[in-house]
């Protein structure tokens, strides 16, 4: 398990690095940092072509540190629904959090979204609704646009991982549906989010 995680982490970090550089190389219209919408879809990254995503160059790790052995479940035999039902899986984490007035995806969230993206890409019967939200501060209509931008940021990462656009739907709720009531950072931090709502067909 530990070994698997380490491998996965390395793999994801590499992907993230390549992804960011790929974004930068296509000009600032597609940088992830500001989550800006793609202009007329001209420079859309769909993960097919520019990268093979195998990350095979980066597998020079020197193994685990031995000791505790944790049995690994063979995911290949689980249905998509069973995978989603596993509470110990990264897939069980389905909320991505954001900084104030930002649609930038943190490195940690990026790693999580890679897992989701891979899962969605390899399970064609799965679809996901990406529900964007903001905290209560500022104006409501601006927050609708900001939450939409957050959902689009998440969508782009998932597409990059090979998810098909048919599988992804975005919706912006702005500040209308807070996860937590309250007027402090504790509540605001919980409300600036994108929720991944899975549907297995």
């Amino acid at each position: 398990m530990k070994l698997e995680m380490t491998l996965k982490k390395l793999h994801l970090l590499l992907l993230a690095a390549v992804f960011v550089s790929a974004c930068q190389s296509t000009g600032d219209q597609t940088t992830l940092d500001d989550g800006a919408p793609l202009n007329d879809g001209q420079s859309q990254i769909d993960g097919s072509g520019t990268l093979d995503g195998s990350g095979s160059d980066a597998t020079s790790f020197d193994g685990g540190d031995g000791g505790n052995l944790t049995p690994i479940v063979d995911d290949a035999n689980l249905s998509a629904q069973q995978m989603l039902d596993r509470v110990d899986s990264p897939l069980a984490t389905r909320v991505i959090y954001f900084d104030f007035d930002s649609a930038k995806i943190s490195d940690e969230s990026l790693s999580l979204l890679e897992v989701h993206g891979n899962f969605i890409a390899s399970n064609g019967n799965v679809s996901v609704r990406l529900e964007g939200h903001t905290d209560e501060r500022g104006s409501r209509e601006y927050n609708i646009a900001l939450a939409d931008r957050r959902a689009q940021s998440v969508r782009r990462v998932l597409l990059f991982q090979g998810a098909s656009s048919d599988q992804l739907e975005t919706i912006s709720y702005g500040e209308e549906q807070p996860a937590m009531l309250g007027h402090d950072e504790a509540a605001w931090g919980k409300n600036r989010r994108v929720e991944l709502v899975y549907n297995v067909n």
Binding site: Q29, A36, P37, L38, N39, D40, G41, D101, E136, R137, G138, S139, R140, E141, Y142, I144, A145, L146, D148, R149, T170, I171, S172, Y173, G174, E176, Q177, L181, H183
Partner: protein
């Protein structure tokens, strides 16, 4: 099938319900004004009526005049006498009580359930009547008649047309068992609220048509933001914008022919203009940042909107026919949700300073920005049709509450609420052209 079922289950259309059964908002004074003109309003004589009236005219008028910030009404306990006709007035008493103006009146029963409301506005120093009118009203129109009296008094004293006898619209959210979102219209004192639409999914961004007969708004009834137009009297409604992505922030042009709105169908949130008849759409902004919250200038020639193209939300202006956008706000990191005064000279907005969100106004000619409010989470400013007051939503505890503030910032009054979370107030137009 599922959609139409959802539609039926989720949405309950209610025709306008009249009467005071829905009176749920009350006025609470939060700050007064030094230098406001003293005026006494004597309770109207109702002794000739066969039954008690559901509304007290003098109380409604007093509350309106106080809310203006320009006038200060004498507390009922301080009244030296109770005259109902000008010929009963001893002016020296009112002068001694420090009053500049005096309002007296009476209500008479008329056939067919009608009332005749008579009032006189008297100048205490000149010892003469300034105006006097007789207004016919049925039981349902008593509150409106009172607001009209306030308008006549306000205009006579200040020279500015009164805007008390107009309507406001807002969203009331309820969080009891299930969430409910209710679009309501009410009198400008918050009374006489009528439900326009009720939904289990969010309702947002009401915008008045310039004739005051319809509202455009955003509804999530189909699980995403779409724009609807609803005629208030008939409750007839239609979806006007349901493009892929967001459909939001509708704003009616002053001539009623176009709707500015925000769509993300071509990428990020951008401002578009739609002809409400032909549904023809033209794109006004093309920017990778967020462009939203369009509002029209009174002459219909330009549109002010919020954009984060500079890195944080700021206000910009663009010609309604398109072109290059010009930045208007430079003070503070967050300026959004503009409303333009009827004379075009000032812009009200949500302005953030030190992490707090307040209502501010920008004087266009000088570029001066003045903060009007003192709470930490204020939003949705909306000018009264005479440009003298700004209606907005503030947050108290877990609920939104409505306030009005005079544009000089000196008088602020709360329209307090007993149920729900009230937000996004918009002040409607004058009922009749003058």
């Amino acid at each position: 099938m599922k959609q139409s079922l959802n539609y039926l289950l989720g949405i309950f259309l209610l025709l306008s319900i009249s009467g005071s059964a829905f009176a749920a908002l009350t006025i609470e004074v939060t700050s007064g004004v030094d230098g406001a003109l003293p005026i006494a309003v004597v309770p109207f004589d109702t002794s000739k009526l066969s039954s008690q009236l559901p509304a007290d005219i003098a109380t409604i008028v007093s509350s309106d005049l106080n809310r203006s910030g320009v006038l200060k009404v004498l507390e009922p306990g301080g009244l030296p006498a109770q005259p109902h006709y000008s010929n009963q007035v001893r002016y020296d008493q009112w002068k001694a009580a420090g009053q500049d103006y005096l309002v007296v009146g009476r209500i008479l029963q008329k056939p067919g359930g009608m009332y005749d409301i008579q009032f006189q506005l008297l100048d205490v120093l000149k010892q003469k009547q300034l105006i006097g009118y007789s207004l016919p009203a049925n039981k349902r129109k008593l509150r409106a008649a009172a607001h009209e009296i306030s308008d006549l008094i306000y205009e006579k004293i200040t020279g500015t047309r009164g805007a008390f006898n107009t309507r406001i619209a807002y969203i009331r959210a309820q969080r009891n068992q299930a969430r409910k979102y209710i679009l309501q219209v009410a009198d400008t004192d918050g009374f006489n609220a009528q439900t326009v639409l009720e939904s289990d999914e969010p309702l947002m961004s009401p915008s008045w048509s310039p004739d005051g007969e319809s509202l455009a708004y955003v509804s999530f009834e189909n699980s995403r933001p779409e724009i609807f137009i609803q005629h208030l009297a008939t409750a007839k409604r239609s979806k006007i914008s349901g493009f892929k992505g967001i459909n939001s922030a509708p704003s009616w042009s002053p001539d009623g022919k176009n709707l500015a709105l925000v769509l993300s169908k071509d990428g990020g949130a951008d401002v578009y203009v739609m002809n409400t008849e032909t549904k023809r759409l033209s794109r006004l902004t093309k920017h990778r940042g967020i462009d939203t919250e369009p509002v029209w200038s009174a002459n219909g020639k330009s549109i002010v909107f919020t954009s984060d193209r500079s890195g944080s939300p700021q206000l910009y202006e663009i010609a309604a026919s398109g072109g290059k956008a010009k930045r208007l706000t430079f003070e503070g990191r967050y300026n959004s949700a503009a409303d333009i005064s009827p004379d075009g000279k000032t812009i009200a907005m949500v302005h953030s300073e030190r992490g707090q969100y307040k209502i501010a106004q920008l004087e266009r000619e000088t570029g001066n920005l003045t903060v009007l409010t003192d709470a930490s989470l204020d939003e949705s400013p909306s000018f009264s049709p005479n440009g003298k007051m700004v209606l907005y939503a503030s947050t108290r505890g877990d609920n939104g509450v409505l306030y009005v503030v005079s544009v000089d910032g000196r008088s602020r009054h709360k329209l307090s609420d007993q149920t729900g979370d009230i937000r996004e107030p918009v002040w409607g137009p004058y009922k009749r052209k003058q």
